[in-house]
Amino acid sequence: MKPKVAFFDFTSCEGCQLEVLNFEQEVLQLLNLLEIVNFRELMTERSDDYDIAIIDGAISTDADVARIKEIRERASILITIGACSSLGGVNCLKNAYPMEEVLSVVYGDAAGYYNTIPARPVSAVVPVDYALPQCPVNKAEFLEVVKALLLGKKPEIPNYPVCAECKMAENACVFDLGRTCLGPVTRAGCNALCVTWGRHCWGCRGLVDDPNVDAATDVLKEHGLTAEDIVNKFRIYTAWTGGSE
């Protein structure tokens, strides 16, 4: 029996679902191994019978909280894909403001019809089996995790900083080029994608388990950032500090 897989989206740009739909080469092979029973971007039929739930998007309304709890109860394995569902991601930027203000900025006069709560990762509401951060989700990593689960192996998600991969890619360090970078505290697994392509790391894979944030902050200061710049830099993807279930 092929495992039944359902995709669900919460507060997100849907970039992660589109990224999964981009698996042109792999999609047919994947369908040999899995049965997809729910994927809003791909199909209209729905089913509530599934083994693996794959979630993108952050939790940001009371209805989201109820819905994710229901999904967790039905799924034996729950995987979050992308920065939004795994870390809270850019959605958490709003948490710095009162929720009423956020509602009125977004919905104006109609604000009264909507509900919102501080945005949070899925793991802040229900236990998550595997979190695959990155904005958007890393296709290669997603496929490795799917294969590992099918083989009954424990998927490996790196727990070391992007710098290690950046060095292996033989990039010049952007600090040496007069710019700044969150690579020293950000979880690797992307092969230092952004540095390799000429930019710097924004931290979209979240922090490693034991980041030396104080030392990284000093490095950023030495390279000309103010305390405020640094807070803003860290906030883009890792504003959620409320912990997890």
Partner: protein, 345 residues
């Protein structure tokens, strides 16, 4: 062996001929990007920089690639694992003496039983043309390690004496390559005197040095296990592993399996690992033998200054300075720590 001399123009022609004739699968040399240097494939001699200070990664990557498949297998009752050891023929141009010494260490490590064929096969198919380092980078202390120059580890060794290179011939293979591709003459006494002079001058350009003879390092490490130096320096360590990833003498790798999406075949590969990463010494039960930054930092200093030397009779650090250049918090250079330990002991 003998010493030759070749004009710079003739050396460039030699490189171009090597590229054009295609006898070797690739001609690799030092190139530049973002104001830094790296070893890469040459398409013409104009790309080659021989007056560089240091490359981002050492040429070790040609012998121990960042990621390499070591076994392929099929799933099922007969998994049929096949070892993979492939190598193409390469001429590698512009390796500095410290990197040659580092490769000798890697070879000693990988040829010790159980010998690892992959590195040795690649080594045997690579002709190495070294070049003396006359402009050391600001973190280099390779002169203190005795590796400003080397008498071994190369097929040919160049020294820039102005308009031409003195070419020290290290092996028959080197002599043969030079005879077939280069227009070299016998070096004169004046050429050799000039070579000794430029080498001597380069020694004055090292900004970092050991405050003790290199052979005292193991004894100093033996006496200072509990020194506060380790705790103080490592407090700001980012556990980023950069110091290890750029090191020419680091030899550790991790092994992983991956399967195709069909789930019926796969490969086992190895990739560089680093003892400065938090989970390096974590084992299956979840126990981590070097859980804190201090113990990882101390381990690396002992590994570079003592463990490898005791086991293989070759220094575990050649003083290239790459770790010092890569470390954002400026704690990684072994010479700095050894000097502090010496002061404290």
């Amino acid at each position: 062996m003998e010493d030759k001399v070749i004009s710079k123009a003739d050396f460039s022609s030699m490189v171009d001929r090597l590229i054009q004739e295609g006898e070797y699968d690739s001609i690799e040399g030092v190139k530049t990007k973002d104001g830094k240097y790296f070893f890469g494939s040459l398409t013409n001699s104009g790309e080659l920089c021989l007056d560089y200070d240091v490359t981002l990664l050492p040429p070790k990557k040609y012998f121990l690639p960042q990621r390499e498949t070591v076994i392929t297998f099929r799933q099922g009752e007969r998994p049929a694992p096949e070892p993979v050891a492939e190598a193409s023929s390469v001429v590698l141009i512009g390796v500095h003496p410290y990197d040659l010494k580092a490769m000798e260490l890697c070879e000693a490590v990988y040829s010790a039983p159980p010998a690892d064929p992959n590195l040795m096969i690649r080594k045997s198919k690579t002709v190495v043309i070294g070049v003396d380092c006359l402009n050391p980078n600001p973190q280099s202390f390779s002169a203190s390690m005795g590796f400003a120059t080397t008498e071994s580890g190369y097929d040919l060794m160049l020294t820039d004496i102005g308009d031409s290179y003195v070419v020290s011939v290290g092996t028959d293979r080197g002599a043969d390559l030079l005879a077939r591709y280069g227009r070299a003459a016998d070096a004169t006494a004046t050429n050799l005197a000039r070579r000794d002079e430029v080498r001597e001058m380069s020694l004055g350009r090292y900004e970092k040095s050991l405050s003790m003879p290199a052979d005292e390092i193991p004894a100093i490490l033996n006496e200072t296990w509990d020194s506060r130096v380790f705790a103080e320096k490592s407090e700001v360590c980012l556990s980023c592993g950069s110091c290890v990833m750029v090191c020419p003498t680091c030899v550790c790798f991790d092994v992983e399996d991956t399967v195709a999406l069909s789930l019926d075949s796969g490969e086992r590969y190895r990739k560089w690992d680093s003892c400065m990463l938090t989970d390096f010494a974590k084992v299956a039960t979840g126990e981590n033998f070097r859980e804190d930054r201090e113990s990882r930092f101390r381990h690396r200093m002992h590994r570079k200054g003592k463990y490898l030397l005791e086991r293989y009779d070759k220094p575990g650090c050649v003083g290239c300075g790459r770790c010092g250049l890569a470390c954002l918090v400026d704690i990684a250079l072994p010479a700095d720590t050894y000097n502090l330990l010496k002061e404290a002991s």
